[in-house]
């Protein structure tokens, strides 16, 4: 137990130093956050432009799709904020810096996790939260405690899901040296896909993201349950909205196992 407390303590010390270093260059930090905020505005603008032409998309109105979008943006930004070290892991491998991590008396997982804390992602995250707030106001929805809980669970466990994907992508660097960008389909692509109701996608895509890689459960299903939607979300039982913790933790455990396997089989890049 002491070990866990010590590790958590260490994590906060380390990311504290990352945060301070990013705040050193104030102008560039502010412009990074602003750029990140605006970059995510483009996706929102697309949504608004499309709803300038139609009132309903896949059975969802503008407020409801905005809620999906806000959830997706917040979740993904949170994952990138925390898991940035795994996102940029290829560099650690290529430069041989990973060898340095191995000789330190702290777990490598903790070290990689704490080697980056991308504050600029707060830009996208704050934008997602603002959209959520405005969308719920627009819907004039007053959330019951269970709805709050379901959505919070979706955001936190969704972030865990994305971090797991980043972790598997990072693990692939042990063999491929360069980061396998094919995973971007699942991370960036997943984020994009979940910004719209699953109902607009064809059967094979739905099946893949419900049964095989259960990403639909970290966003679309809980949102559908909270909003009382029909369609694919309505076809699933109510408890499916409570699945994010189970899905998130299971996927994370699996990703951790893959990571540990990778660390054990790591052979230095040399040079």
């Amino acid at each position: 137990m002491d070990r866990v407390v010590w590790n958590v303590h260490l994590y906060f010390i380390l990311i504290g130093s990352r945060i301070r270093s990013q705040l050193q260059y104030r102008v560039s930090f502010m412009s990074d956050v602003a750029a990140n905020f605006v970059a995510s505005l483009a996706d929102l603008a697309v949504l608004l432009v499309l709803f300038g032409h139609t009132r309903i998309l896949g059975g969802w109105d503008v407020g409801e799709v905005a809620i999906l979008y806000g959830l997706s943006a917040t979740t993904f930004a949170l994952a990138e904020l925390i898991g940035g070290g795994f996102d940029h892991f290829a560099q650690t491998i290529r430069t041989g810096n990973f060898d340095t991590l191995l000789v330190r008396p702290v777990g490598v997982f903790l070290q990689v996790l704490s080697c980056e804390f991308m504050l600029k992602r707060l830009g996208r995250m704050s934008q997602g939260l603002v959209v959520l707030w405005v969308a719920f106001r627009w819907k004039q929805a007053v959330l019951a405690p269970w709805q709050w809980l379901m959505l919070t669970g979706a955001i936190l466990c969704g972030a865990l899901f994305y971090i797991s994907l980043l972790l598997v992508q990072a693990t692939s660097c042990f063999w491929a040296v360069e980061s396998l960008e094919i995973f971007n389909i699942l991370t960036y692509g997943g984020h994009e896909m979940l910004s719209y109701p699953m109902d607009i996608y064809p059967g094979w895509l739905k099946r893949f993201f419900v049964s095989f890689l259960p990403m639909a459960f970290i966003n679309y299903v809980p949102a559908g349950k909270v909003l009382g939607k029909g369609g694919l979300a309505g076809a699933l039982p109510h408890w499916a909205g409570w699945l994010p913790p189970l899905v998130g933790v299971t996927v994370f455990m699996a990703a951790r196992a893959v990571w540990e396997y990778g660390v054990r089989h790591y052979q230095s890049t040399g040079s």
Partner: protein, 278 residues
């Protein structure tokens, strides 16, 4: 080596040859990143599929949507995803990095025009991107979806001419944005903002003609729709005859303006440039 050939003197040929070799080298250098290209292709394709269903849902709702047909919307998503890498709409930071590392000194000392040095390298890169990213994506797309394709050779020719002009415009814009790094130590954030604006207003995310009317009223006076939207209108068969000629003339005008802008910014920027590194 030719000593003289018509109007060209020996030095003339050597210069042309140098630019040519630079472009080819850049092409080859980019060709070596095969797995990255494949991953990029797969990602572009997946996003393309998502966008197909997004736009299809809008058309299925019965909205007129600026009179786009299903085939045209399929073509729109296909071409935008295909040309994404060719035009690097999402941003170009190579020049900025050379300012940061100090390499810019070496580049400025070359017996070459600094703008054309980068332009030729970019052409090599664009050729690679078109070959390994755009063409396979479009072929796959066409096999999967009933994409609208123009029927006559003249439309294809007009499209290619318009697209090449757009490519030059896009580079000039990226070069102009990159000169910000002569003034700022860390220009990345500001540059990303500028790229984001051009990315959206060039009609990459949604076609410019489905923007709200007030937005179209402003955007049409900027060069951005001519960097992507205009050529795509040609290949979707939505721009023809005198309107097409007019659009192409405007493209050329904007290209000239952007070139002038680049030369002014470069001149001013070089006065402010502080060399980094040692």
């Amino acid at each position: 080596m030719r000593t003289s050939s018509g109007a060209f003197t020996r030095t003339g040929w050597v210069t042309v040859r140098a630019y040519y070799e630079l472009g080819v080298t850049s092409f080859r250098r980019h060709m070596t990143y095969r797995t990255a290209a494949l991953a990029g292709l797969a990602t572009n394709f997946f996003f393309g599929i998502l966008r197909v269903y997004m736009f299809t849902a809008v058309l299925e709702s019965g909205a007129p949507f600026a009179a786009y047909t299903h085939g045209q919307i399929l073509a729109y998503t296909g071409w935008t995803q295909a040309l994404m890498a060719t035009l690097i709409v999402y941003g170009w930071f190579e020049l900025m990095h050379t300012v940061k590392s100090g390499e810019v000194v070496g580049d400025l000392c070359r017996p070459m025009n600094y703008f054309w040095f980068w332009q030729v390298k970019d052409l090599g890169r664009a050729a690679q991107a078109t070959l390994v990213r755009a063409v396979p994506l479009l072929v796959g797309y066409r096999l999967m979806f009933p994409v609208y394709l123009p029927g006559t050779a003249i439309v294809w020719l007009a499209f290619v001419a318009s697209l090449i002009t757009a490519l030059f415009m896009s580079f000039a814009w990226r070069f102009a944005v990159s000169t910000i790094s002569f003034w700022m130590l860390d220009a990345r954030g500001v540059m990303s903002l500028a790229y984001m604006v051009s990315w959206f207003l060039s009609g990459f995310f949604v076609p410019v003609d489905v923007f709200p009317a007030w937005a179209i009223g402003i955007v049409k006076y900027t060069p951005f729709p001519y960097m992507l939207h205009a050529p795509l209108q040609v290949v979707m068969g939505r721009l023809a005859g005198t309107a097409l000629l007019h659009a192409m003339a405007v493209q050329v005008c904007w290209l000239t303006v952007l070139w002038l802008l680049c030369s002014v910014l470069l001149r001013l920027g070089l006065r402010r440039l502080v060399i980094q590194g040692g």
